[in-house]
Amino acid sequence: MVNKRTASQWRTAGRRRIAAARDFVEETDPDALVVGAIGTVALFGAFVGFLLTSSYTSIAFVVFLASVGYGWWRHQELTARGVTLAMTVASSLILVLILAFIVLEAWPVIRYETSELLGIPVPGLGAFTSTSWDPRSNPNSFSMLPMIHGTLLVTAIATLVAGPLGVAAALFLSEIAPPVVREFVKPGVEILAGIPSIVYGFIGFVIIGPWVSDRFAIVGQGTYLFVGIVVGLMALPTVVSVAEDAINSVPEPMKSGSLAMGTTDWQTMTTITIPAAFSGVSAAVLLGVGRAIGETMAATVMLRNEPKIGEPLYNVFYGFETLTSVVANKYGSAVGLQESALYLAGIILFVSVLLLSVGSQLIEAHMHRKLGGAE
């Protein structure tokens, strides 16, 4: 359903907008317009001032507050609308600002790691072609591959834990559990999400780490396997709650119809509920994957914190570094290019989780359209 507008349609739409704006200006009190304009300019000025670290930022902000105060007194209706609009814009702006600032900070290392592909220099390519992270030797090299390898292993293990267990728990909560049991299990899963990651990390560091090293006769402490399991446990509640919503959104008549045919409720689940909710459930798993990728503290304190790739590649018993742990570990001690490289790790994290989030939202929207029929 791609909505292609022709140029003339765009023009009419644009003209309508302008006309509406002109109507608004004509109908509104000039006093309100002036105050609104002052407020807008002052807020924008405060933002610019903040970016430039100007000490006049506060003046602009006070002017903004004053204009809002005056507007509230004289034109409450319009002011409320304007202020909530400004808040919406500010909230949406954060995502853009995050991307802008981490790209800006990562730019030096992206330029530094330029390497040639088919004779054309590609900025940042070097960080993905070599495998060494070495901030000391000359020339330095900041490869992201060791961390990407670690993140992939941890995420894969976490998904193996959180995916099946989470979907099964969601089925249990929405279809199987008697109401009394449900009242206990559902808050339990939520509280599992509430345990701070640093507490998981502390348990992992003090108890699990030494235990694993002893059990498997491992040199030193830190394994991707158990970090993955812990991270999977932390991603589990996300999977459960989103998958449960998806399963609940399957219309009751579909299930009743199946049950009326004399099927067991497990048959109804496997032939009606799960297929109908499949896209929603996969969106839940995607979100869980996103959580696992971004999980920081458990990985930071349970891993060895030396960026290198294990041998053989599937050796999950030795855990070195992930994209998140490298930032938490090295930020502060890193300067110059190395600090910039940490922002590059941030970009990879941000973009991959952003894609997962948007992807799962598209899937969910698709599912609601399919199940809800024409809204």
Partner: protein
């Protein structure tokens, strides 16, 4: 075949065969528990039970279980037992058993028989294909019992014959020495026991239900109930473990009684700004009736009990700052999106952006805070409480926005229409009808969100954290530190622009430094458990309050 007579889905009587199958499920559960106990050294594998080593006993039990399950399948196939199986165990079971047997075959071929690269792959493939054929091709009763029973029999024989005995171990040869790993029986045997008892338990549950629709139903329910149970057990064990480990350091030196606690001086001076003339001052000192050193002390060499007071203060200020920033912004945006904006491209984009912000990793927020906020409050870039507050506020914002919006959408349109019919303006309607009705949802969302950010560590490392062990005197005293100046920005507060600590950050520092000798902390691990317990209690109380509020309002407010 049973089809001719009364093969219903529901059965009333319990036959002898069902009793046996039920007992098998019970035995499998017992074995699973034994395996779990052995994994955590509660049962020693080398001890003797009735003259046999535990490994041998476990092997024998597994063998018996496997034989029992295979005999259920055979009995059903030969029509000795009345069941109503489907024509096949299904593709999913087939694929799962293929995977299991592929791994088993591959490990045996490559490690026990020592076959090379191509050899073990061929063997593993053959074993996997045979497992698939055995599962998917014959009737369901054979297909779901034979591969499962065979697994238990195989594992049982390996333990019985001593192929995997106490002195056995396996070190994969292709792992370099510096990254080597060794599998000992004390790990492998419990895993084998637990895994095969799960598989056999599932097959026995199917047999108990007489295969077919009812059998699948029972088998699936067994696994799903087990899964839910284990999630709750893990939660309970985690919380109980932190509690038991942390209660000693936290409770050390607690005293009750009038006047035992620290003295607090409440004072208020009215000062004319810029000229520093005090108009009048009031001051009153009270002594607390509670002395709780772990929470009320800082860390210092001379303390009897070292504590986390500065971290508690830091966490409180962080939460306050984040809420002050995020709640107005989030609720305001939600009002605009729900009440003013027309549903269309714009609201969709904002919605997607908000959800994306919600799943953005905390460490990325930390990087953003470090680049965007840290350099802007002081002439030299410096980590500060203010930067931490705003960063956490940004993290809280999407949750407040999402939950407020959901709560506002849930307010029925009739409410708005009724208000509009009275000739009330839109903003009046929002203020006096929509917001009060949506308030419970907003409050719940804020409380749960606060629980999440109060435990957040990663952004604090990058934006706020300073100091490993902090004395009580260094606790942030934000309220008393506001200063008015004549030049812009007119109001300054050195406490806000200074690095400080918070509970999760303190715990991270405990792990990082590993010693508290410089600050007089004798047992750093106990100190860590204490900090973890305080943090857990703070965070979980937010969750408990949030969940309880939601339950309360949900039972009270039913719009439909």
């Amino acid at each position: 075949m049973a089809g001719a007579t009364d093969a219903g889905v529901v059965r009333e009587e319990t036959s002898r065969e069902e009793t046996v199958a039920g007992a098998t499920v019970g035995l499998a559960a017992l074995l699973f528990a034994l395996g779990l106990a052995a994994q955590f050294d509660l049962v020693s594998l080398t001890d003797e039970v009735a003259g046999f080593r535990t490994v041998t006993v476990l092997g024998g039990l597994l063998l018996g279980l496997g034989l029992a399950v295979v005999s259920f399948g055979a009995g059903s196939r030969l029509d000795l037992v009345q069941t109503d199986p489907d024509h096949s165990a299904g593709l999913i079971a087939g694929v799962l058993f293929t995977g299991i047997w592929f791994v088993v075959g591959g490990l045996v071929a490559s490690q026990t028989l020592g076959l090379g690269g191509v050899g073990w792959v061929v063997v593993a493939l053959v074993v996997g294909v045979v497992a698939f054929a055995t599962t998917a091709i014959p009737r369901e009763d054979v297909g779901s019992t034979l591969p499962a029973g065979a697994l238990a029999i195989f594992f049982g024989l390996a333990m019985l014959t001593g192929a995997i005995g106490p002195s056995w171990s396996w070190t994969p040869a292709n792992f370099p020495e510096s990254q080597s790993v060794t599998f000992f029986p004390r790990v492998v045997v419990p895993v084998m026991v637990m895994f095969s008892s799960l598989v056999v338990g599932w097959a026995a549950a199917k047999a108990y239900g007489g295969f077919g629709a009812r059998g699948r139903h029972l088998g699936a329910h067994l696994l799903i109930y087990l899964n839910a149970l284990s999630i709750i057990v893990v939660l309970f064990v985690l919380v109980a473990f932190v509690f038991l480990k942390g209660i000693d350091p936290v409770a050390e030196g607690v005293a009750f009684g009038p006047g035992v606690g620290p003295e607090t001086t409440l004072s208020f001076d009215l000062v004319i700004p810029f000229v520093d003339v005090t108009l009048f001052g009031v001051s009153h000192t009270v002594a607390w009736p509670v002395w709780w050193p772990f929470v009320m002390n800082g860390a210092a060499i001379l303390n009897d009990v070292n504590g986390v007071w500065p971290a508690v203060v830091g966490t409180i200020w962080l939460v306050v700052g984040a809420v002050v920033l995020a709640v107005p912004l989030g609720v305001g945006s939600a009002i605009f999106l729900t009440e003013y904006a027309e549903r269309g491209r714009f609201t969709q984009v904002v919605e997607v952006a908000t959800n994306a912000l919600w799943s953005t990793p905390s460490i990325v927020f930390g990087l953003f805070g470090a680049a965007f906020l840290v350099p802007r409050f002081t002439p030299q870039p410096k980590k500060s409480l203010l930067a931490g507050m705003i960063t956490l506020g940004f993290m809280l914002l999407p949750l407040v926005l999402i939950t407020s919006r959901e709560a506002m959408i849930a307010v029925p349109d009739e409410y708005r229409d009724a208000s509009a019919a009275l000739g009330v303006s839109k903003w009046q309607t929002i203020r006096s009808v929509v917001l009060p009705a949506a308030m419970p949802g907003v409050v719940t969302g804020v409380i749960l969100g606060v629980g999440r950010i109060a435990g957040e560590t990663a952004p604090l490392i990058l934006t706020m954290g300073g100091g490993t062990f902090v004395t009580a005197g260094q606790a942030a005293s934000v309220v008393n530190s506001f200063e008015l100046t004549l030049s812009p920005p007119f109001v300054t507060n050195p406490e806000l622009t200074q690095a400080t600590t918070a509970l999760p950050y303190q715990l991270y520092q405990v792990i990082l430094t590993g010693t508290g000798a410089t600050a007089g902390v004798k047992d750093i691990t106990a100190f860590g458990w204490g900090t973890a317990l305080v943090l857990l209690v703070v965070v979980l109380s937010f969750y408990a309050i949030g969940i309880a509020t939601r339950q309360y309002f949900r039972s009270k407010l039913q719009y439909e």
